[in-house]
């Protein structure tokens, strides 16, 4: 289980808690991450203004991983879909591949069309497996009620993920969270988008979307939310306070990345999982689980 770790833009700069916890949990579970320091932005933020350039940037990253003979493991869902989509298009369309290679050749690169892209949650589910995760549980999470948030690009567009999971009825995150000893709770509009991609054009709409979800999560009695994408975390964790003041409401719901929840069950301490970097305080939550560690 060896992967090129694709960090993208947001994680290394703004979500070091995700990176730290993912590296720690991966190491414990025997997933080896290789850093390719020449990886750039996946291309997603360029898509709205110029999808050809976005695709080219994605193809460059795919070519770098391919030349190392490694499949890509992503942490960000937007990176996952951007890279998987480009890989999918280039696999299907020989003409497109030739065009991309004409550009890549100018900077000394070439892409044969063999790169594979997998989100970390999918690596955990498919390569590691829930049995191995269960076997690594050292701390009882005592059925902590957790609201899992799939977000969008982890599942969609489903055609680029070869139908591994039905986006209308997903279960992978629940399986992982439950394997760690937490208890995933059902809540209304679970599949709705966080609104992160609207933030750049219309903040009010974006925050309104995040608010709706936080309302339902609170209503369901979840003690924490679980996310697998830094965009979603920006909406629910970083912006939770401003949503509370703007809409005169109160949540105080900690938003944990998937490997932070798994890591707690595996006995890592707060610092090892970057839990001190979460915006909504996680201290009282972790105190119940692991004491003052």
């Amino acid at each position: 289980m060896k992967y090129a770790l694709f960090l993208g833009c947001t994680i290394p700069a703004r979500s070091r808690n995700y990176e730290l916890s993912a590296r720690a949990v991966a190491h414990r579970l025997g997933v080896e991450f290789v850093d390719i320091f020449d990886f750039s932005c996946c291309g997603f933020p360029l898509k709205s203004s110029d999808m050809k350039q976005a695709g080219l940037l994605a193809a460059r990253n795919l070519a770098l991983a391919e030349s190392e003979g490694l499949a890509i493991c992503t942490l960000c869902s937007a990176c996952t879909s951007m890279l998987a989509e480009e890989a999918h298009h280039l696999e299907q369309d020989r003409g497109l591949l030739d065009g991309v290679n004409a550009e890549l050749n100018k900077v000394g690169l070439a892409y044969k069309g063999h790169a594979k892209v997998k989100h970390f949650a999918r690596v955990l589910l498919e390569d590691v497996g829930v049995d191995r995760i269960r076997a690594e549980v050292k701390v009882d999470l005592k059925g902590l009620p957790v609201a899992t948030h799939y977000g969008c690009h982890y599942l969609k567009p489903s055609e680029i993920y070869e139908g591994v999971e039905d986006p209308e009825d997903p279960s992978s995150l629940e399986e992982l969270v439950n394997a760690a000893g937490a208890r995933s709770v059902e809540y209304q509009h679970k599949k709705d988008c966080c609104g992160g991609a609207v933030l750049v054009a219309d903040e009010e709409t974006a925050l309104g979307m995040a608010k709706r979800k936080l309302d339902h999560v609170k209503e369901a009695g979840a003690r924490a939310m679980n996310v697998v994408c830094p965009f979603c975390s920006v909406m629910y964790d970083d912006n939770q306070k401003s949503i509370e003041s703007q809409f005169e409401t109160d949540y105080q719901i900690p938003v944990l990345y998937l490997p932070q929840i798994l890591g707690l069950a595996m006995g890592f301490d707060r610092k090892e999982l970057g839990l001190n970097m979460n915006v909504v305080k996680t201290k009282s939550l972790t105190k119940e689980i692991i004491g003052e560690k």
Partner: protein, 158 residues
Amino acid sequence: MPEFKLEKVSSGFASMVVQEPGAEGIRSCYACGTCTAGCPVRRVNAAYNPRKLIRMVLLGMQDEVLQGKEIWLCSSCYTCQERCPQGIRITETIIALRNLAAREGYAPSGVSMQAKLIKDQGRLYALDEFDDKKRKKAGLPSLPSEVAGATKLLDEKE
């Protein structure tokens, strides 16, 4: 919906849009509204209506579509695209419309700024010394501030 004025109609607009990758299928839209019914953006902002946007494109309302703010409200969640009974790639159609709008200079400033940052540094957030220090302190590997190979590729393309 903006007022429909026959004299303002751009008869070639729909033909132009269907040539964009992703937007090829929009002529088969029968306006059932599955897209709009399931849209999570629409639930908080009624100004966004994908069915209307597709109809406006097919009617040739070029200025209203490309200069309006509606196309920038899509969260690209793909709910509509997954559910469209006609298999229209609705999310990708919206992205194609944004590309057309951007080419004509109508992208919101935030979108153009993001594009410029990536073309200049190869990533959205340059990792300065401060970031690097924080990464080292957390035990994370040091990463290059900018990705020269990526900026070179985008330069060559232009």
